[in-house]
Symmetry: C2
Subunit: 232 residues, 2 copies
DNA sequence: AATGTCTTGATTGTTGACAATACAGACAAT
DNA sequence: ATTGTCTGTATTGTCAACAATCAAGACATT
């Protein structure tokens, strides 16, 4: 049965995607993140190559990149499969996030320019509006991403930014797609974001880190509870 | 001028290295980490393929993997080059380490078994012996790695372990190779390791994290000072 | 019936050739 | 002299065919 991916061009164009293998990577990544390929599903090279309208070379490259991003598992001579996102792994993901984004907030409190902080404030304001207008919930996920993204960038640490935005980011997205049934605690999150901005504005690295870590730890606890309550 | 890498087989055999591209990855990685290829040096595909005695396919795979490990920079249609380890990047590396290994120590204090803790103690004892016998310095680098490695594994967080041991680890090694001229503060480190074990043994996650972070932050400061004093 | 071996089909690993792109040097124009 | 364009060469991107490996089912043996 043919999936809804006739070729690579159906993927979102990302500005840096010049070569075929890069476009294939993006296309395959989105397909996995969005659940077109189910968790644990085998990735057959010739079949996928046909679907994406490329030869096996670029496709293999794409698979390798997704392996290094943690979205795909690989066994030599056996093949690739979409990573099965078990409970344990999700908790692990949030623990790593807590560590890295905590550090990002600390560094952001030191390195962010005043302009960048103002941008952050504007962003929060927009989210606030949305929350009031649309009775919460809606767009919260993307909004949350934007906010965290700006702080990460504001850290000024390129390695950290890369680790979070290029590697872990897509894992988080994938998880969110699979668990969109969970309500996002959007009003709570807004308050926490607000506090975080204060800490950064006051150039208090310790507080910024602590608040960010609590923000993420709280999300982790919330998810943990949800996952347990769903246990069969 | 021919380098001292006639083919892939000269690389250290790592148990999981079955396929040619995996062996090539290991070989190329070691060559880069150990400085056979200088920082910033261009990696020419046909030339390297000849040197390693493989075709361009596996070699390209190897390069891609090293890109995702941060050892190699890549520009489409231009090619790959060994990452130039500038001062800024080294500091960044230690900031990320501080965050991740801090979290590892925290989790280790929670999750490590008593047996694992005993192993850690034995390891420290061995390092202590070496320090007294060999008037310090010697073997400190590897010893330090072993110690940190066991704590990371002891965290029980696979994602964290992978990030540290498969990605950042080799960057650190590469940096150490380039700066072996720096004296390692080995007696200081031993004391800090000792304290860390206490914290883990007493199941004090907060203290364990704090000590690990200080341990790494101190190393960062030491390196910072060295780098500044070398400024031309 | 259960276990072990063999064979077959499918899938991955590797290769070398060809196409597309970028870089360097020569040359012309201002 | 400097800038811009062009051309040839080198390098990377892509492909399709071939070799090596693995997984599953048939068959024989205990």
């Amino acid at each position: 049965m043919q999936k809804h991916i006739s070729n690579v061009d159906s993927a979102p164009k990302e500005n840096g995607d010049k070569t075929l293998s890069e476009r294939t990577t993006t296309a395959l990544r989105e397909a996995i993140v969005c659940g077109t390929f189910k968790a644990g599903e085998k990735l057959n090279e010739p079949k996928l190559a046909t679907q994406f309208n490329v030869s096996r070379g670029p496709l293999r490259e794409a698979i390798r990149r997704l392996v290094s991003m943690g979205l795909v598992e690989y066994t030599p001579n056996v093949g690739a499969k979409v990573i099965p996102l078990e409970r344990a792994r999700i908790i692990e993901l949030y623990e790593v996030r807590e560590a890295l984004e905590g550090m990002a907030a600390r560094l952001a409190a030191i390195n962010m320019t005043d302009d960048e902080i103002n941008e952050l404030k504007k962003l929060l304001e927009i989210h606030h509006q949305h929350h009031e207008n649309n009775a919460g919930e809606y767009m919260q996920a993307d909004g949350d991403f934007d906010f965290h993204y700006q702080i990460i960038k504001g850290s000024g640490n390129e390695l950290l930014t890369q680790q979070l935005c290029n590697e872990l980011y897509h894992l988080i997205r994938m998880f969110r797609f699979q668990t969109s049934r969970f309500k996002t605690r959007s009003d709570q999150a807004l308050v926490e974001h607000q506090q975080l901005i204060y800490a950064i504005e006051n150039r208090d690295p310790g507080l910024a880190e602590m608040l960010m870590r609590r923000h993420i730890a709280r999300a982790k606890q919330s998810i943990k509870a949800h996952l347990l309550s769903e246990e069969t």
